[in-house]
Symmetry: C2
Subunit: 303 residues, 2 copies
């Protein structure tokens, strides 16, 4: 079993075991949403919250091994409520993974604009989840220009006239520091995003139930990989991460313990290849890692 058995396939098995066949330093991005503790019991056997960290650590050890030094691991997770308290398995996992050698670079916030309905006497609806960024080294690839967003309304109102005064302010004012660079803003309509991501949750009206909308992996795939890179989701579920990677011209590796999910994921992947033949052509060969340097579209610097 070489690496070509992995690239652009959905594999059945425990990711901690399956990944042992994948070479060191061969993945650019790991994006996954593991089964939360005590959730999805039928499909995953139900990991109890207290055992969650020890269940997960052998897997993250493999993640660390297969991830390239320039790669990134994005973990979508949220602690569930146990006995009226938020359980501590997520924060304990962060501490344990740091002992394993991971760097806890950042924690993005997914603001779920339509969360699961419900009312409880002691808490409100939970409208956010964590997207925890781990890295193997401090110098990882990040293509920030790939996810820029339109500038806020304030720019239209104020920036137009600002251009008329920037020359004089450049000479006279030294205090603010911002004024000196006003010229950079003239005509600028895109700004960098921040670490809060606003997306609605995926509606369950489809036959698959994805844990997240496809825009979520897409955003991180654009941010942390370039075309031809390899994206791994070790808990692929219904295959959303693989679809996201395909649509963006990245290679994928999907793993799942559940045969039913494997079937769903493979079906969705196949349907996407039919639905997007032109895109697939344009983005080049999915079959080999070696294409990673050829069809690069993102002309962004890395760190």
């Amino acid at each position: 079993m070489d690496r070509f058995s992995f690239i652009n396939n959905i594999l059945l098995g425990d990711c901690g075991e399956v990944l042992k066949g994948l070479p060191d330093n061969s993945v650019d991005l790991i994006f996954t949403s593991p089964p939360y503790a005590d959730q999805r019991q039928k499909t995953y056997g139900g990991v109890s919250p207290d055992a969650y960290v020890s269940w997960f650590l052998p897997k993250t050890e493999q993640f660390l091994r297969v991830l390239k030094p320039t790669g990134t691991f994005i973990l979508n997770i949220k602690e569930r409520v146990v006995n009226g308290e938020r359980h501590t398995y997520v924060i304990e996992l962060i501490l344990a993974m740091r002992s394993q050698g991971w760097l806890w670079t950042e924690e993005f916030m997914w603001h779920k604009k339509n969360s699961y309905p419900g009312k409880w006497p002691n808490r409100f609806r939970d409208n956010w989840e964590r997207l925890i960024q781990f890295n193997k080294s401090k110098s990882f690839n990040m293509y920030q220009e790939a996810v820029m967003v339109p500038v806020g309304n304030w720019a239209k109102d104020r920036l137009a006239k600002l251009s008329q005064t920037d020359q004089t302010r450049d000479e006279s004012k030294v205090g603010s520091g911002f004024g000196k660079n006003v010229s950079n803003w003239v005509g600028r309509d895109m700004v960098y995003p921040n670490n809060v991501i606003h997306l609605a949750t995926e509606c369950a009206n489809k036959n698959h139930s994805a844990a997240f909308p496809i825009e979520l992996p897409k955003w991180f795939i654009k941010l942390f990989t370039k075309q031809g890179d390899v994206v791994l989701d070790p808990f692929i579920g219904s295959g959303t991460t693989a679809l996201a990677a395909m649509q963006l011209g990245r290679n994928y590796v999907g793993i799942d313990l559940n045969p039913e999910y494997i079937d769903i994921a493979r079906d969705r992947v196949a349907a996407t290849q039919i639905a997007l033949p032109i895109v697939a052509e344009e983005n080049g060969d999915y079959q080999a890692i070696s294409t990673s340097d050829s069809s690069r579209e993102d002309k962004h610097g890395s760190t």
Copy 2:
């Protein structure tokens, strides 16, 4: 020094020491934003990240003692970046406080719409902070109806009030479930909020510089206390929490280590009492805890 020396006063000193004069079980809500590690060095001396937990724990021990069993502690905090990583002192603090006897009930998220600007090669701007809810027992007071949001505001918050960038991101999701749910809200006046709070930070366009806008403590004061209750902020700073409590007819206790902040807070409190005499009258006597059962406006059940 009896409890009446505390009620509706701003006290000078280390809160861990000052609070020893306050009786057990005498506070309904603790809302505070302690100086973050290595921040505000001029005024607080700068607590190093590595020493943060051991610096804070003696204080939370007093918080636990003075808080009523039905009370709540809301901690506004965010870990800073150290050596390219998010430091772990916040999550270590959560674990340590649980060992101290606290319950980690919930973590609210403050989405700061205007965060500090800047650009770095390895991270985006930080647009959120934690509002961690700790409790002494599982049966705490929570007046959910006091913070219900009008449906009109719901539409405003989620659609109109979102920045241009958010709306652009939404377009990709139009029709995928977000719009469908709008029909569920037709005919309803008020809805419960969730655990994501959208507020802009307070710029020092004013002569004081508050770490948070007054709406932030107000929201939690309405949610976790009724009129006449006692709200404690052991790091009162410029007095925003005290102002919020006053404006809502709650008693306050403020403590701070810094004499300059004491002066600012006392001035702002005095100015508020002048500016809101009618409100003060309507809300009854601020000077005694014993009024707590009299002028109750919030007819909400507790858990």
